[in-house]
């Protein structure tokens, strides 16, 4: 045997010391939120950080590449799908397939953003509901904003895709296997949310910090809820309600009024604005201006799109909107026209931001009320509203006064030239008025050199294939 006779005692003592040392283990591996983030429990303990959650929604809407503004916006893509824009891209499958009405489910565009914003709104609603620490006034305002946002994105979801998932919780387990709902059901929720928002929100525009009033029209208020509600009722053919809501906005003359000078309509905080979004990317004004304004022939310039003849040809002679809201450039002895509602297109980090993205504006409310009145048979009322918009554009009163259908046609025409390349109005109007097949049967073959003909399946966009793969309950729209 060795001379080492030390019993096991000593090593055991050493082990014991080590292990007692280790009693703090559990504590050692516990971490709290990192310095660069904050846990949800903390967010909704405070008015400021709760408001910041809603702010993040508006902020994200203004990031490039999103549906609100820019190269992949609703304005651009539905403008291509309808008859507003021509495509000159030879390399972008998204643009060419939108343009030739041959969309593929392999491309994902609006879907991600729609449901990310809805998630944040739901998270804010759930977080605030659980918290007693937020001041009641702030909670009311923010709950109103969140409901408005949830309605806003569901509205675009159902109008773009038809049947869509109706998402009112943050529960990922149910949402990842959710089925799609009928537009009627989706609209019921939209109306409920907007009605809530209308009663929760006030008439003032508020700052993000503590509910003070501000001239910045960049957070939704009561007017925004009413304006969207009037549009929703119109889309649902609920003429009375549409008229009521539009009138509420129009009569609020202390806040809203049409801007005489067409070049000033889309300026920041123009009185015509019901809800605008503030650009956030340093150096840029709106991505609408950046992406639409041509500095060379389209396709070579940074944008591959230009206004189509179908739109340019419907402007009446003397329509100031044609001269003020469209621009043109000549290249290789060919003239190209572009949307020029937003004018500050240059990127320059030192320049001031003078234009905001217009989401809801008063002119649309006049046209909504005109249409609702026309459908109700109040033709004179309809004509009055219509003429307000025409006169502002430097046009005489309408001559289409004889019948309801004449008046309605005049209103649809007016919508086409007033609201072009704004938030998909043309595409949605074609769909809801049932004119889409008549119009697109001519336009689609034009756009694809005759290789495609119009198919009614194409009134809704395809659900992304990656989504149907992950959630088999979604199913796909017909024809895709």
């Amino acid at each position: 045997m060795t001379i080492i006779q030390t019993p096991w005692r000593k090593p055991l003592i050493a082990l014991f010391v080590l292990l007692t040392f280790g009693t703090s283990c559990k504590k050692f591996v516990q971490v709290t939120a990192p310095p660069t983030a904050i846990s949800s429990g903390t967010v909704y303990q405070n008015d400021l950080s709760s408001a910041a959650v809603l702010t993040s929604i508006y902020n994200k809407m203004m990031t490039n590449g999103q549906m609100s503004s820019g190269s992949q916006s609703i304005s651009t893509l539905t403008g291509l799908a309808a008859d507003e824009l021509d495509n000159y891209s030879t390399t972008s499958p998204l643009f060419s397939t939108c343009y030739t009405n041959s969309l593929k489910s392999s491309l994902v565009y609006f879907w991600t953003e729609l449901y990310q914003r809805i998630y944040t709104a739901n998270a804010a609603l759930e977080g605030m509901a659980k918290s007693d620490a937020i001041s009641p006034a702030e909670k009311q305002q923010l709950t109103g904003e969140a409901k408005f946002i949830r309605a806003f994105f569901h509205f675009y979801a159902t109008n773009l895709y038809g049947n869509v998932p109706l998402v009112t919780t943050t529960n990922y387990q149910t949402n990842t296997t959710i089925s799609r709902s009928d537009p009627k059901q989706v609209y019921r929720q939209i109306i409920a949310d907007l009605t809530d928002a209308q009663s929760l929100l006030g008439n003032n525009f508020l700052t993000p910090t503590g509910g003070a009033s501000t001239p910045e029209r960049v957070r939704p208020n009561k007017g925004a809820a009413e304006a969207l509600l009037s549009r929703v009722y119109l889309y649902q053919n609920m003429w009375d309600s549409a008229e009521v809501e539009a009138t509420l906005v129009i009569n609020n003359t202390s806040t809203y009024g049409l801007v005489k000078n067409l070049d000033s309509v889309f300026l920041a905080n123009s009185t015509e604005a019901i809800w605008q979004l503030q650009p956030v990317q340093p150096g840029y004004n709106t991505f609408d201006a950046y992406n639409f304004v041509l500095t060379s022939q389209p396709g070579v310039s940074r944008t591959p799109v230009a206004l189509s003849k179908n739109l340019l040809n419907v402007f009446e002679p003397g329509d100031n909107r044609n001269s003020h809201w469209t621009g043109n450039i000549t290249s290789s002895s060919k003239k190209y026209y572009y949307p020029y509602k937003y004018k500050v297109y240059l990127f320059n980090a030192n320049q001031a931001v003078t234009e905001y993205v217009m989401v809801l504006r008063l002119a649309e409310q006049y046209l909504i009320r005109a249409e609702a009145r026309a459908w109700k048979g109040n033709l004179q009322g309809a004509i009055d509203d219509l003429n307000i918009i025409r006169n502002r554009a430097g046009l005489p009163n309408t001559t289409a006064t004889s019948s309801q259908s004449d008046v309605l046609s005049a209103i649809y025409h007016e919508r086409q030239v007033e609201l072009f390349t704004e938030w998909g109005h043309r595409w949605f109007d074609l769909k809801r008025t049932g004119n889409i097949t008549a119009v697109m049967t001519t336009v689609t073959p034009q756009k694809s050199n005759g290789s495609n003909s119009w198919n009614t399946n194409w009134t809704v966009f395809p659900i992304p294939a990656s989504e149907t793969k992950i959630n088999p309950n979604l199913g796909q729209n017909q024809g895709y």
Partner: protein
Amino acid sequence: MYIFSNGMPSVKKAIAGYEPLEALIKAPKCWTRKRFTSKTLVRAVKLTATILFIACMQVSARTNAQRLSIDVKNVSLQTLFSEIEKRTPYVFFYDEGILKGTRPVTVDMRDASVEEVLQTSLHGQALNFAIHDRTIFIKKEANKPASIATIGEGEPPTGVAGIVRSEAGVPLAGATVFIKKLNKSGVTNTAGEFVLKNVPNGEYEVEISYIGYEAYRTKINVVDNQATILARLKQSENNLDQTVVKGYYATTNRLNTGDVTTIKSEDLAKQPVANPLAALEGRVPGLVITQTTGAPGGGFKVQIRGQNSLLNGNDPFYVIDGVPYNSQIPALKSTYKPLINPTLQGGNPLNFINISDIESIVILKDADATSIYGSRAANGAILITTKKGKEGKTKIDLNAYTGIGQTARQLPMLNTQQYLQMRREAFSNDNVQPTTTNAPDLLIWDTARYTDWQKVLTGNNAHYADAQASISGGTANTQYIIGANYHRETAVYPTIIPDQGVDQKGSAHLNLTTYSNDRKLRVTINASYLSDLNTVQAYDLQYNALNLSPDAPALYNPDGSLNWAPVQAGQAGTWNNPYSNLYQKYRGRTSNLVGNSVISYSVLPGLDIKTSLGYTNMQTDEILTTPSTIYDPSYRISSGSSQFNNVNSHSWIVEPEADYNRVIGAGQFSALVGMTFQENNNSVQTISASGFLNDALLENLQSAAAFTPSSVSTVYKYNAVFGRLNYNWQSKYIVNLTGRHDGSSRFGPGQQFANFGAVGAAWIFSNEDFFKRNVSFISFGKLRGSYGTSGNDQIGDYRFIDLYTTTTNPYQGIQGLYPNSLFNTNLAWELDKKIEGGLELGLLRDRIMINASYFRSRSGNQLVTAPLSLVTGFSSIPSNLPAVIQNTGVEIMVTTTNIKSKNFNWASSINLTIPRNKLVAFPNQTNSVYANLFVVGQPVSVQKVYHVIGVNDTTGVYQFSGSKGPTYDPVSNVDNTTLINTAPRYYGGFQNNIQYKGFNLDFLFQFVKQTGMNIYTNNFPGSMFNEPSTVLNRWQKQGDIKPFQKFSQNYSGNAYNAFSNYLYYSDFAYSDASFIRLKNVSLSYSFPQALRQKWHLQNLRIFAQGQNLLTITKYKGIDPETQGTTLPPLRVWTGGFQITL
């Protein structure tokens, strides 16, 4: 001062009392006077014949120091003294009577001092000695100090005692001394001393063994229950006895119970590469390393034994000198590339470790080797050990090389004539008229131009320069090495801005080991610091090289400005001038410090306690400037922008640990217990700034008008208790138990801790007597096996907390807060169960070594970021899946010494791995988001793709087989039924080393059998991009049977639809990507000794080296390793020299 527990003083103290020997020698006068003057001194010079005198003594050739070599067995002290007198100028004085009753001694010492010889031989004899001038006085031991007396007074020191040292004289602590006949054994203490008590008189064979040394065997004759041994152990040259580091402990290849591959610095030094990972390719069975780009400082993919994790976290665990090291550079978000320079493909942390500082790289594979790392080693572990100083003469080593690199291969592309033909045919097929918008290449550009873009954009030479110097040496108690290195490497891209396209590294390395005089306390300090400056062009031009039209315009206008070939003057250009990207300026500075210190103390013989302290800090500062002048002037961008990126990663680790070794029965027992406290802090900050006043001020944040900052900061904490028990019975049967109790901050409360453990066992059957008697051609044979668990926590930090982060730019003057990701409070460990069996054989006296293993690992409770429908607001959620992935495989490594002679040596080594990956189970898969991603029973790397039948001879468009017959538009998730597996089917390497006199030739072939994605999905043939010339074999008219479909430029036609939506996901996109690559050749010449001596050099060697010299492949694309369109690994030639002073 140390006393053995039975009270017997140590060898040295027994002679010198408790005074240091030096003090005793300094005071001989007093000593002599008192003890010797009154006595009759006998000068004993006569030789006493002894029975067993086999002495062979000689005085060392050197005369200045009295050192001698001596090898005597069982001789009397008298004989020994007289022999020493004969060989040295010393004379002995002693009282004859005092030698009565002393026992014979056995001494085997080489180049030892007289004192050492006497210390050894007088040990336990109750005698003392003192040296005065040239006289050696021998006297009876007396005047024992009280402290000793109280313990051992009167008790005769009995037993077999001795000292075990290395040839260099370093005491070997923990060596085993074994008397087989008595089945008695012991272990040496820190001073290399041992005593075996209660040995009956008689003759015995003693065997002394120590890790990494040849066993020492001697015969002793125990008289009066006493004998003395002084053993010097020779370092073993047999690979079986090489030390194998297994994390917290070491063993040898011979005794190892696990599966471990070690790559030594010699193999690393043969390769002119900057990243150690590049040097491992093809050398290690079970290890797949893929270089993702040929740009200096670029990324690597590393996988040990296949894909264990379904979707993420397949990185092995890296440890440098005991300190865990990042496997990836921390990124702002897991989806981002951490470095802002996209050419670098994310980079790799090991780019910031100097390869020449590395002594060895150890790859741990099975459960026995990895379980001690617990949760972090499910994907294996890679341990890097840096160079240590060695005792001996100060050595200065200089090494330098220089060389060039090139892209090894160019893909045959369409020339201008063929390209124009393709374009015109496309328009005519589509019935479309070319216009200046859709065909500037036909209508605006000069169609007579031809440019070979591969030559222009990636055809330059890369230059390499490397110099390193080190100084090392030390004494028995202190050893050191200090090294420095400079490495410079350039890219193959054209350089426009001076100083761009260079990667430079400067580094320093220090290692210091020091022992206390009693060798009980040991302190080691390691520090490596590397500073890297990378200015590689931030745009990989390889992509342009493969897709720019051959008639593309000139790069510059006559006035020297960039040519954009506008439609008409002042308007937008018609192409993206590739040179515009080169005006961006990139600079990435990284400094990396890895430091550690180990303090160990030997509390008792066999029991050491130690603490390992480690610290790492890696800091990367990057800047990428984009001047306004790089844009097409029609965009009227008046100000430039810059991106600043700052990555900071620092970690500390403290690991207290206790090691215990003792002999139990006829075997050696070792135990280890330790704890880990570790914290990693990562932070990434990025600032995008724009609106600079002037392009000259792009590096000055203050002159910018607008900023977009983003930052992420994370903390990872980790805590564990680990242990190991090992029992080695007579080097025949070895059992090794390891385990770890692990806690990670990546999981929520209640889920943080888990246990991991493994058992490994080995049977060295060649040590069995019956085997030795009957089988002579097998010199070594071992069967080993292991089973155990390890885990994986590579899910990212904070994934169990519901976190909100801030937006990047303010809205209404303030930032927004948004939900970052979905969270999962139930996240838990991914668990990996590994089983392994191995057979190791040494044939013909170990000239042929065979190492074969079979492994199976099953990982379950998969940590995944499970895909979710975007309707949830996010695309994924971190979660555990019950799916089970199995990796099985066979690994074989055969090393042979083909010829071994004085002047000519030839050795070969071949390794082969045949891996199989299988998704074993996936409960409820069909209802999950993975329904269409994976197939149970198939490898997880399998892709479900469409099958291309061919090109329809009427329409000219690809046809796919569909459920309703051939179609150009197959149904997704229905018709994609063909399975393609992109994981390697087998791979390995074949290395040869041939030595003839001073010449040494070493070469390594790497081979991989695999399927990969080819180049045919890159661009739509007919569009405004160049194509590989093979596409000319296309459909042109009705009835053509061709592999490629018709040319088309219509992005909404059927041809594009078939190409973009389906071809990419079809079997047409995949083809054989197997390759055999002459990975490395190294030829060197060492100057003969005669010349070196003349020049006063220890070593002088000149060498030429090459990397990636030859690739044999059928791959359809630029390179089968990188695939795709990134810059492939370069072919490199270098030459240099090495001098050792």
